[in-house]
């Protein structure tokens, strides 16, 4: 009797767990996958100001790739992406290794390198816009020192404005890489360091040949996180350049939002959003492949 009752209790408690879980999970999954499917669907329609469910084949995609603004935005995603991910990774790893050398004031330095992560990209963008503004910022300062010919006008130059986004982005995110890699460095067995010392291998080579290869999974996580930031980048562009001068610093995320809410090109924006989705899936698949290959290797 008693056993039967306990068994029943157990079953009903398990049921409660599922029932508690269900509402939020169902709502979230509908919100995510329902809207993803909806967006993909709309990208194959003639939707303009309002969604119109008239099948248009790949017309919106053809239109998308004939828009010069999209071309700029798409190319910028790769330029900004490569420099931002590379910059954050190199700088972040260097910072992590540097603070790991038993330097004085380690806690203070780490807090200093990480505080930008607490800020909104809007705040970061405005701060750097002010500092790099040619008429009042860095350029004006160096000129006032007597170097009249000094030019640092990246922010107002269509070719170079994208690099200002990279500077601000690296400033914001390399602290995160530092924190993650620093945690990874701490998890490395001290035996490995001892073995290196016994063999007389210099520290620099130990890092390059032994330690960093051991941290590949951690670095991969960083790359995926940073790459996601690139595809999502919207706030930073809005705050820093507004996509300008002209459309020179446009990114897909901004192109899509502008076309959805300002230009009322819902079909076109959905096509752009679908391309963004593909970009994210490619990143995730690539990282999964790399992980699998690494695991398969003895």
């Amino acid at each position: 009797m008693a056993v039967g009752r306990a068994g029943k209790r157990k079953w009903s408690a398990g049921c409660t767990a599922v029932l508690t879980l269900m509402p939020t999970v169902v709502i979230c999954l509908i919100a995510y996958y329902g809207s993803i499917g909806w967006t993909i669907g709309m990208s194959f329609t003639t939707s303009g100001i309002l969604p119109k469910y008239e099948f248009a084949g790949f017309d919106q995609y053809i239109r998308l790739w004939s828009e010069p603004r999209w071309h700029t935005a798409f190319a910028n995603m790769f330029i900004f992406g490569a420099l931002y991910v590379g910059g954050c990774l190199v700088f972040g790893v260097a910072l992590a290794i540097a603070v790991d050398q038993g330097v004085r004031g380690r806690n203070f330095l780490q807090s200093l390198f990480l505080y930008p992560i607490a800020l909104s990209f809007i705040v970061t963008g405005l701060a750097w816009q002010w500092f790099l503004n040619p008429t009042v910022g860095l350029q004006a300062f160096v000129r006032s020192l007597g170097f009249e010919g000094f030019v640092f006008d990246w922010l107002s130059s269509p070719e170079k404005a994208i690099f200002t986004l990279v500077i601000a982005g690296v400033w914001q995110s390399s602290g995160l890489v530092m924190a993650i890699v620093y945690a990874g460095l701490g998890s490395i067995d001290s035996e490995i360091w001892r073995a290196g010392r016994v063999d007389g291998i210099p520290k620099v080579r130990m890092y390059r040949r032994v330690i960093l290869p051991m941290l590949t999974p951690v670095l991969l996580v960083c790359v995926v996180l940073l790459a996601m930031n690139v595809v999502k980048s919207y706030d930073l562009v809005v705050a820093m350049t507004g996509g300008g001068p002209g459309f020179s610093t446009d990114l897909p995320a901004k192109f899509v939002v502008d076309n959805l809410f300002q230009r009322a090109n819902i079909g076109l924006a959905s096509a752009g959003a679908t391309v963004m989705l593909l970009a994210v899936l490619v990143i995730l698949l690539l990282s999964a492949c790399i992980q699998r290959i690494r695991k398969a290797r003895p």
Partner: protein, 299 residues
């Protein structure tokens, strides 16, 4: 390694000078990095304490001659956002009103979900978590328009419940992951014993699991608070004109171009917006770091 090179490492004097050079290089690098990270903040602070005339006359690096909070008061209560000139103080209130229900709901639900997924034999728990996390990885742009339609169908588009719902929906996956990982580390005997004693799902949660979750709740709260406070795009679209939070107000304040741009006021407004998460960061220290890295490392 060639013989000559290994010999070089063995010579003690040479080695000492190499170590010294490395030491110097290390501190030089750290010093430069520290400058790079602190300059934008220092410049913002110093600019916000200057008068408008001083900003126009001097350089960004010049310290304020007569530091004052005039720009801060203007940013707080008088600066123009579009045509209304009431500063960003209204945005602070809106941010708080959005923040409290969003974080309480998403952390609470995530704790319950994480508890159910990790300590109860929910079928396909791994697949559910993976589906949630994949959704959180997709950029908002891919989902935003259908979400607007869904929200207006339910009748919450452009309102406080609307923006709170969107924050909760997008906040849950990573927070659930954090709770899941934490609860998996609890000793399973504890739950088993309670179950044998006849305690149910919620009773075990309230009596046993929740009292042990203090630290992880702090980590989740910090992550959630910073995320919601710093959000721009979702609030811009879902909050409606009466509930725009500080980040959105700040962007339009700086974007308002009537007359001469008041850089000192802009910088004061930026600092006011950045202050709450910055203070949270300084006060919470290790918890904050754990929050931003927890989702990353185990995900």
């Amino acid at each position: 390694m060639t013989a000559a090179r290994s010999a070089r490492y063995r010579s003690p004097r040479h080695r000492q000078s190499i170590v010294r050079a490395q030491h110097f290089g290390l501190y030089l690098f750290l010093f430069t990095a520290a400058l790079f990270f602190s300059i934008p903040l220092l410049i913002m602070i110093s600019t916000s304490l200057k008068t408008a005339a001083e900003v126009r006359a001097g350089s960004v690096f010049a310290l304020p001659v007569e530091p004052g909070f005039a720009a801060w008061t203007r940013a707080w209560g008088e600066a123009c956002i579009g045509r209304t000139c009431e500063g960003i103080s209204a945005g602070l209130w809106n941010s708080v009103i959005i923040l409290i229900p969003s974080t309480v709901l998403s952390v609470g639900l995530a704790a319950l979900n994480g508890y159910a997924l990790s300590l109860w034999n929910v079928p396909r728990a791994g697949a559910i978590l993976a589906a949630l996390l994949l959704g959180a990885f997709i950029p908002y742009q891919v989902m935003i328009y259908p979400l607007v339609r869904m929200a207006s169908t339910v009748g919450i588009y452009g309102s406080l419940p609307g923006i709170v719902a969107v924050h909760v929906i997008f906040g849950i996956p990573v927070l659930t992951l954090i709770f899941c990982n934490f609860y998996k580390g609890l000793p399973p005997e504890l739950i088993k014993a309670a179950r044998v004693d006849g305690a149910g799902f919620f009773r075990i949660f309230r009596r046993i699991v929740l009292p042990m979750s203090g630290n992880i709740i702090i980590v989740a709260l910090i992550l959630s608070v910073t995320g919601v406070w710093n959000d721009y795009l979702l609030s811009l679209i879902f909050a409606g004109r009466d509930n725009l939070p500080m980040t959105v107000q700040l962007a339009s304040l700086v974007g308002t171009r009537i007359g001469v741009p008041e850089y000192n006021v802009n910088m004061a407004a930026t600092l006011i917006t950045a202050l709450p998460p910055l203070l949270l960061y300084l006060l919470s220290g290790k918890y904050f770091v754990r929050g931003v890295t927890a989702g990353a490392i185990k995900g």
